[in-house]
């Protein structure tokens, strides 16, 4: 080891004069280092490898004649997808409209005296999973501390308003009720005694449950908890959230422990939210945001490969990198369909992970046949593609799907779309037609995406970039055709 260290410090000339035993020892150590960094990844080292890998996009160009040979096959595949583009884009728009409708409170008692500002969830903040970034049409009239709701359910409060550090001008940061430091006054009517009990709710007790503190009546057994603005003088904004639901509080475990069963999947189930603002004569309640397909936040990308040599993977190399505004996790689309997401991103090229790649994940919603309500499936994690071409997913989170199956497999036909909440993936992109387990089969069976797009055959792809990056220049930018 001493000799190896001496060799490293002296340089290549010294290495040439080393004995074969020392060289073998050095080689073995290097190899063990490679094996170790494979199994225990070091982000900085992976970043360095990605940088060193950047010139290999030129090597991939050597195989470009293969694209010429495949041109008829490619054109046929693209024609098929483009033929369905208009219908699929309209379906995505209808889904977004339905989501906005569900997120908008309708009870007159919960709406009166408030201005409703729609916000589309962009994704979690880099700082914490309990902080959400959301895009709004107009930040005028918004203030820190304003309540944020989904339908009749309280979600959290506005924490920061853009423009600010790491926050664009059209974005706000929302602190969720799941945050460790979040506290909100609540009131529940005990189902046993019928008495009103004041309590404080905030933070996670366990996944799916909010923590409860200081109930005014320690005999509380169970009841529906809603926001109660007791200290209006100290916290005037909370008055706007008066009466919004938090969930059903119940005693759990020992006699002095209560928790609230969350009404929503706060991690992967929030796509569209509404900020409750003070009424303003000059500002009216606004409309939901339009679909992202038509905006300027897309950049063209060309596949450099035709598939992954690893037989269990489904990826492409793309001719787009961080210098073009591409970021890891960004959506890859063709027409109105989600084709994949970016994996590792180098300066001039990037990996595209396709739905058939094991570990590919995306937040999804389903529109079931004969059901107009979008259902949150949570995060779908790919198990890979089977021999018949169907892609299997395991669903994580999501809402209970109390629907009747339409076949013997315990599943029901549905159309899957992307939800909001994954940074770089706009909501409303089509994933495809699927068989989704419902009722008792939910959680036991896989979600099966039938006839998933043969993405290896598509060549004119589009990558989602931040609009600021798309405007920063470059050879190709702008809205999708």
């Amino acid at each position: 080891l001493f000799r190896a260290r001496a060799a490293c410090t002296i340089g290549p000339n010294r290495i040439r004069t080393l004995s074969s035993t020392t060289k073998r020892t050095l080689g073995l150590l290097l190899w063990l280092g490679l094996v170790g960094s494979s199994i225990w990844p070091i982000p900085a080292l992976d970043g360095a490898f990605e940088l060193a890998r950047a010139p290999l996009s030129a090597l991939a160009e050597l195989a470009s004649p293969l694209a010429v040979l495949r041109r008829p096959e490619v054109q046929a595949a693209q024609r098929d997808v483009l033929a369905a583009w208009r219908e699929e884009a309209e379906a995505g728009e209808l889904l977004l409209a339905a989501q906005a409708r569900l997120a908008t409170p309708t009870d007159p008692a919960l709406v009166a005296g408030r201005r409703l500002v729609h916000a589309e969830v962009v994704g979690p903040s880099r700082a914490s999973a309990d902080l959400l970034l959301a895009r709004v049409r107009d930040v005028r009239g918004l203030a820190v501390g304003l309540p944020v709701v989904h339908g009749a359910v309280f979600v959290g409060r506005v924490r920061r308003i853009g423009p600010a550090v790491d926050l664009d001008a059209d974005k706000i940061e929302i602190e969720l009720v799941t945050s460790k430091s979040f506290r909100v006054g609540a009131r529940a009517r005990d189902e046993v005694s019928g008495r009103d009990v004041d309590l404080i709710v905030g933070g996670l007790d366990e996944p799916g449950s909010l923590a409860v503190q200081s109930p005014s009546d320690r005999e509380l057994f169970a009841g529906m908890a809603s926001v109660n603005a007791r200290l209006e003088m100290l916290d005037p904004s909370l008055r706007l959230a008066q009466g919004y639901l938090l969930g059903r509080v119940r005693r759990v475990g020992d006699e002095q422990h209560w928790s609230v069963a969350a009404e929503l999947d706060y991690r992967d189930g929030l796509f569209h939210l509404v900020v409750l603002a003070e009424p303003d004569q000059g500002l009216s309640s606004d409309e939901p945001m339009p679909q992202a397909l038509a905006d300027q936040g897309w950049r063209a990308a060309r596949p450099l490969s035709h598939g992954d040599p690893s037989p269990w993977r489904e990826t492409l190399r793309l001719s787009i990198g961080s210098t073009h505004g591409a970021r890891s996790g960004a959506a890859l689309a063709f027409g109105a369909r989600l084709i994949g997401r970016l994996g590792a991103v180098g300066p001039w090229s990037a990996d595209a992970l396709l739905p058939g790649d094991p570990g590919f994940h995306v937040v999804a919603v389903a529109l079931f046949d004969g059901d107009e309500v979008p259902r949150v499936l949570g995060r779908l994690i790919s198990l890979g593609r089977d021999a018949r071409g169907a892609v299997h997913f395991r669903a994580s989170g999501g809402e209970p799907l109390a629907l009747a199956p339409d076949g013997d497999d315990g599943c029901r036909a549905a159309r899957l779309f992307t939800g909001a909440g994954d940074a770089g993936v706009p909501s409303g992109l089509l994933l495809g037609d699927a068989r989704v387990p419902v009722g008792p089969a939910q959680g036991l069976e896989d979600v099966r995406l039938a006839r998933a797009t043969r993405t290896g055959n598509l060549r004119d792809l589009w990558v989602r970039v931040e609009i600021a990056d798309a405007d920063s220049g470059g050879p190709e930018r702008g809205s999708k055709p």
């Binding site: 190899w31 094996v35 494979s38 990844p41 992976d46 195989a63 190399r317 570990g359």
Partner: protein, 178 residues
């Protein structure tokens, strides 16, 4: 190989790039994906007995870089897999003729299995960093099938790969059996 002539090395780069490009295309077909051999690895193990250690590791580096140009596998896993194959071949060569059909197939199959398993483990580790305990291990079936296909290709297609145009300088430099 004449150290001063870059052409054999450039030809090798082109052949490796094409092998992995075509392998990627074939693996994109669900019906074929389990049976696509790692032809770069087969070529490397066919050339290795004919090369000095220094040249063998240079060829291994070219094979690894060609694979990385088309694959999303973690770079350290690909490098470790390819260099491990050379080391295994050289270790086996000390007591058996690795250019024989059975030994060649066994070394190639074992190397492909190790490289595939390491790449799968590296992928799972990186998924776990994002998804936590929800990350799912990829199935072992495709890795096993690909290792079998690589072993078969090493047994029967390796001599053909050595006859690829432009690779004769590597083949002619056969050294004495170690």
């Amino acid at each position: 190989v004449k150290q001063r002539s870059p052409w054999p090395w450039l030809v090798l780069v082109v052949w490796c790039a094409w092998m992995y490009a075509v392998a990627g295309r074939a693996a994109a077909e669900p019906s074929l994906r389990g049976f696509v051999p790692d032809l770069g690895l087969v070529l490397l193990l066919a050339l290795e007995p004919r090369l000095a250690a220094r040249d063998a590791f240079k060829v291994a580096l070219i094979v690894a870089l060609a694979r990385l140009a088309f694959s999303a596998d973690a770079p350290p896993a690909v490098l470790a897999g390819v260099f491990g194959a050379v080391a295994l071949s050289r270790a086996v060569r000390s007591f058996v003729e690795v250019d024989g059909l059975v030994a060649r197939a066994a070394v190639a199959g074992g190397s492909a299995l190790f490289a595939g398993a390491l790449a799968a483990a590296a992928h799972l580790a990186r998924e776990e960093a994002v998804l936590g305990r929800e990350a799912l291990p990829p199935g072992s079936g495709p890795v096993l099938h690909a290792a079998g296909a690589t072993a078969l290709a090493a047994a029967f297609a390796a001599p053909l790969l050595l006859r690829l145009p432009g690779l004769s300088p590597f083949v002619r430099s056969r050294r004495a059996f170690a």
